[in-house]
Amino acid sequence: MDTPVEYYLVLAAILFGIGALGVLIRRNVIVILMSIELMLNAVNVTFVAFARQQWSVDGQVIVFFVMTVAAAEVAVGLAIVLMSFAQRKTINADEINLLRW
C-alpha cells in the first residue's frame, strides 16, 4: 500500500469529529440524523483501512453489518421524525422534550 494506513485513520477521525460537531450544534433532527450517518461512515473507513492493512476480509464484513444497522436506524428515525412533526408541527430538537427531565 503506497498510502500508509495512518493517513486514512486521521481522515476518518476528522470526518467523525465533523459528524459529532453536527450532532452537538444542530437543532434540526434530520440534519442530526445525517451527521450520525457521517460518523458511521468514518468508522467504516477505519474498518476498511485496517482490513486492507491486515489483508483480512473480516473488516469488510463488519462494514456490511454497520451499513445494515445504519439503514434500519434511518428508517425508524425518519418514521419517528415524521410522526413527531405530524403531532407537534416541529422537528426542532430543542422543542421535542417530552422524554427529557
Binding site: A13, I18, M34, A49, L78, L82
Partner: protein, 162 residues
C-alpha cells in the same frame, strides 16, 4: 498518495457543508457527495464490494429516504438563536477536543502490513461472501431479523392514526 490528498481535500469541505449549511436540502446533497467520496476511498483500499454497497445503499436508498422526509416536511432553513450561542460554543469545543483525541490516536504508528501483496481476490464478492456465509453466518441471519423489525417499526410509527 495523490488520490488520497484529492479525496481528503474534497471530503472534508463536503462533510463540513453537511453539518454547517442551514438549508437541509443542501446538507443532503453535500452528504451524497461525501458518501461518493467515501466509496472512492473504499475502491482505493481495495474493498470493491463494499464500495458498490456504499453507492447502492447509502447514496441510493438512505439518501432518497432522507430527501423524501425533507420534502414531506417542507422545512424552512433554521435561523441562529442568540440564547443557544453558549451551547454552540460548547459543541464546537467538545467536537474539536474529540477530533484532536481521535487524530492523535489514529496518527500513532500502527505497524506495517504483514504481507506486501495480498490475496488476488481481496475485497471481491467471492472472498467477502465466503467469509460472510461461513464465519459470520449467525450475525448475518440476525441482520435479517433486525431489518424486519425496523421495517415493521417504521410502518407502525409512520402510519396515520384514525
Amino acid at each position: 498518495m495523490t488520490l488520497f490528498w484529492i479525496l481528503a481535500f474534497l471530503t472534508v469541505p463536503a462533510a463540513l457543508t453537511v453539518v454547517l449549511h442551514r438549508n437541509p436540502v443542501y446538507s443532503a446533497l453535500a452528504l451524497v457527495f461525501t458518501l461518493f467520496q467515501v466509496a472512492i476511498m473504499f475502491v482505493a483500499l481495495e474493498a470493491y464490494l463494499i464500495a458498490f454497497l456504499q453507492v447502492i445503499i447509502y447514496a441510493g436508498a438512505i439518501l432518497v429516504l432522507i430527501l423524501f422526509a425533507i420534502m414531506l416536511l417542507s422545512l424552512e432553513p433554521e435561523e441562529p438563536s442568540p440564547e443557544r450561542s453558549t451551547m454552540r460554543a460548547w459543541g464546537w469545543g467538545v467536537a474539536a477536543l474529540l477530533m484532536l483525541e481521535l487524530g492523535a490516536v489514529a496518527s500513532m504508528e500502527h505497524g506495517a502490513s504483514p504481507a506486501q501483496a495480498g490475496p488476488k481476490d481481496f475485497g471481491s464478492v467471492t472472498s467477502v461472501a465466503t467469509e460472510l456465509f461461513s464465519t459470520h453466518l449467525l450475525p448475518f441471519e440476525l441482520t435479517s431479523i433486525l431489518l424486519l423489525v425496523a421495517l415493521v417499526g417504521a410502518v407502525v410509527l409512520a402510519r396515520r392514526r384514525s
